[in-house]
Subunit: 146 residues, 2 copies
DNA sequence: TAGTAAATTGATATTCATTCCATTTTTATC
DNA sequence: GATAAAAATGGAATGAATATCAATTTACTA
């Protein structure tokens, strides 16, 4: 797998009959340049406007939906009133998890992945085919826990 | 611990200087009568109106916030456009998790709790004091996976 | 290369959950 | 029962997200 991220997205778009337009390209660039920042649609819109001022907000929303559909990004929810997005960097579903500070709202990423056992157990017992999971831990970061 | 749920809530309210008003009481009743249903504010509002037609939607929102603050209920998010609430039945934070069917949207509860190891590891490595967690598994229920 | 159908875009209108605000009602206290 | 404080109210405001629609762009075909 030596294909670049953009090439990969382009292929996925083509596969479903979509095109990689300039607008979509700029949106993807912004997301790429802000990995780990969990941007909201509005934030993406504002950054995209710097590079492509004619773009409309609707296009940003549409493109985010499209990219989510293609599993290029996925939606996060930190209960702050808007959706946030993150690149789905791995080519399967085992992404990282989030620590959310209850005091300052900071979001820290964790790369541990000890959930296989749990998934296996649930699949056996529960008669449920697991495809993805989403784990959030709430607590206090090292600055706020004092 | 032989106190009833309502008594417990009443005590918690009093502790923080809040009162158990009729409206709050009715809202709590509705939540109690719908355990396991993950009601949204609108759904709660509609059911509460049957018992107490004069109540306003804002009151429902306010009460839900209040009850969440007191750890009597907690907020869930199933990406269906609204928040949903669930009773916090255990007296500490180790509640159950949810299986969400990607096809029919059904939500199934799981009681497993194998996350202690993971939390311990994160606390050691990450310099983060964990207070709560939230785990969702996405996949297909036994009816939809065929 | 011209012409046509399909996809995409951007501005605007709309929807819907949630919050805000001024007013009214309820509760507790003396 | 009078009074002050707290809580609840409806309606309006807000703000994120979606839908609408005419205009533009793109891909394809003759």
């Amino acid at each position: 797998m030596k294909t670049s991220f953009i090439e990969d997205v382009k292929a996925k778009l083509k596969e479903k009959g979509y095109k990689l337009t300039t607008q979509r390209r700029v949106i993807i660039d912004v997301i790429l340049e802000n990995q780990g920042n969990h941007l909201s649609p509005e934030e993406i819109y504002s950054k995209v406007k710097d590079k492509y001022p004619e773009i409309g907000l609707a296009t940003v929303y549409r493109t985010l939906q499209l990219l989510e559909e293609l599993n290029v990004i996925y939606k996060l929810n930190f209960n702050d009133g808007c959706n946030r997005y993150e690149i789905n960097s791995g080519n399967d579903y085992h992404h990282h998890h989030h620590l959310i500070c209850l005091n300052c709202g900071k979001v820290i990423e964790v790369k541990l992945d000890l959930l296989e056992d749990l998934e296996e157990k649930i699949e056996k017992e529960g008669d449920f085919k697991i495809v993805d999971h989403n784990v959030k831990f709430f607590g206090y970061c090292n600055e706020c826990k004092k």
